[in-house]
């Protein structure tokens, strides 16, 4: 086989590998596995909530977009369509109860429903921020 054919074939193979790599590991890279992600911060629930209420911008830069583990007594559970939300309430406002809302991963729906009001709970989730009424944690799991 001539040298130039070998070079073209080699380049073509490298190109195909690069495209496949880009497709599977960049374009189609999976979402973060929040259940197994390590928490960047571990806090008592009032500490997290008060941080946002007292200094929204400061708390945003610290906690929003991060995986956080909180500890608190559970106030209530809510269901809406396919969602199950664990709620820790601190205040009353124009939208009703205000506090931390933890949107549970489907795998933990049954587990959270077994908890009663006042039960101590450790929840890990991805903080999407504070909407002036609640701090939102999504993709939440229960830590035993």
């Amino acid at each position: 086989m001539k040298l130039w054919i070998k070079i073209i074939l080699g380049l073509a193979i490298i190109g195909i590998i690069a495209v496949l790599f880009g497709y599977f590991f960049v374009y189609n890279k999976p979402h973060t596995d929040y259940e197994n992600a390590e928490a960047e911060y571990t806090l008592n629930a009032p500490e997290l909530y008060n941080a946002f209420v007292e200094d929204k911008h400061g708390a945003d830069s610290l906690y929003t977009g991060k995986v956080i583990l909180i500890e608190a007594p559970l106030t209530k559970k809510e269901t809406a369509d396919s969602l199950v939300i664990a709620v820790i309430v601190f205040n009353e406002g124009m939208f009703g109860d205000e506090g931390i809302r933890c949107v549970m991963l489907p795998k933990f729906h049954e587990t959270i429903m077994a908890y009663q009001t006042g039960d101590p709970i450790k929840i890990k989730g991805y903080c999407t921020g504070y909407n002036d009424t609640d701090v939102i944690l999504e993709h939440c799991s229960i830590i035993h």
């Binding site: 830069s61 977009g65 809510e78 009703g96 009424t133 999504e138």
Partner: protein, 184 residues
């Protein structure tokens, strides 16, 4: 003393009647859909705060941008980091009113057209908007739906030329919220 007490109670009752009934949700849903030549992109957010005062027609929505979920993690990253810059502008809000609230049978129930006007803020840019929606009043709940387009350039959301064929300049927003009466 007794007269003063009666007066205060009467004033409180009047104030409460004037406020109307407030309906709220914290699990409203917003979807956006971009139909570009190269690909279709959808994202969902089902942590939308919404409140409606049936007496005044006042309507408020509040959305955390980081709560939008995309099928592909890479799209979600680009959306937050490059397009809506959610670290800098974490919320989108709508503050406005249903201008024909008086024509809507909040007491008797049914499905009604709603004319909505107000200020929509996305990416730190506030614009006046006027859209049509639909309200279904049933079993003590109000289901609100609206589908409308927004132009990304109106909100100073810049799409790099290299991905211009992947993202439509105008995206379709679908709002669907089921509001329940606020018990205070």
């Amino acid at each position: 003393m007794k007269i003063n007490k009666i007066l205060i109670i009467a004033l409180l009752m009047l104030a409460s009647a004037a406020m109307g009934q407030k309906y709220v949700t914290k699990t409203g849903s917003i979807k956006f859909f971009s139909d570009a030549p190269m690909e279709k992109i959808e994202a969902y957010n089902n942590q939308v705060n919404a409140a409606l005062d049936t007496e005044t027609g006042d309507l408020v929505f509040k959305v955390l941008m980081k709560s939008f979920t995309f099928e592909k993690a890479l799209m979600q990253e680009h959306f937050n980091e490059n397009y809506v810059e959610s670290d800098k502008f974490p919320n989108a809000t709508f503050v406005g009113k249903i201008t024909n609230a008086g024509e809507i049978g909040f007491q008797k129930g049914g499905t009604f057209d709603a004319q909505v006007e107000g200020k929509l803020t996305i990416h730190g840019v506030t614009r006046s908007v006027k859209e049509l929606g639909s309200l279904t009043v049933s079993d003590g709940k109000i289901l609100t739906t609206s589908v409308f387009p927004i132009k990304l350039s109106d909100y100073e959301i810049k799409i790099p030329k290299t991905v211009a064929s992947n993202i439509s300049e105008s995206v379709e927003i679908t709002v669907e919220v089921s509001l329940a009466i606020l018990n205070q």
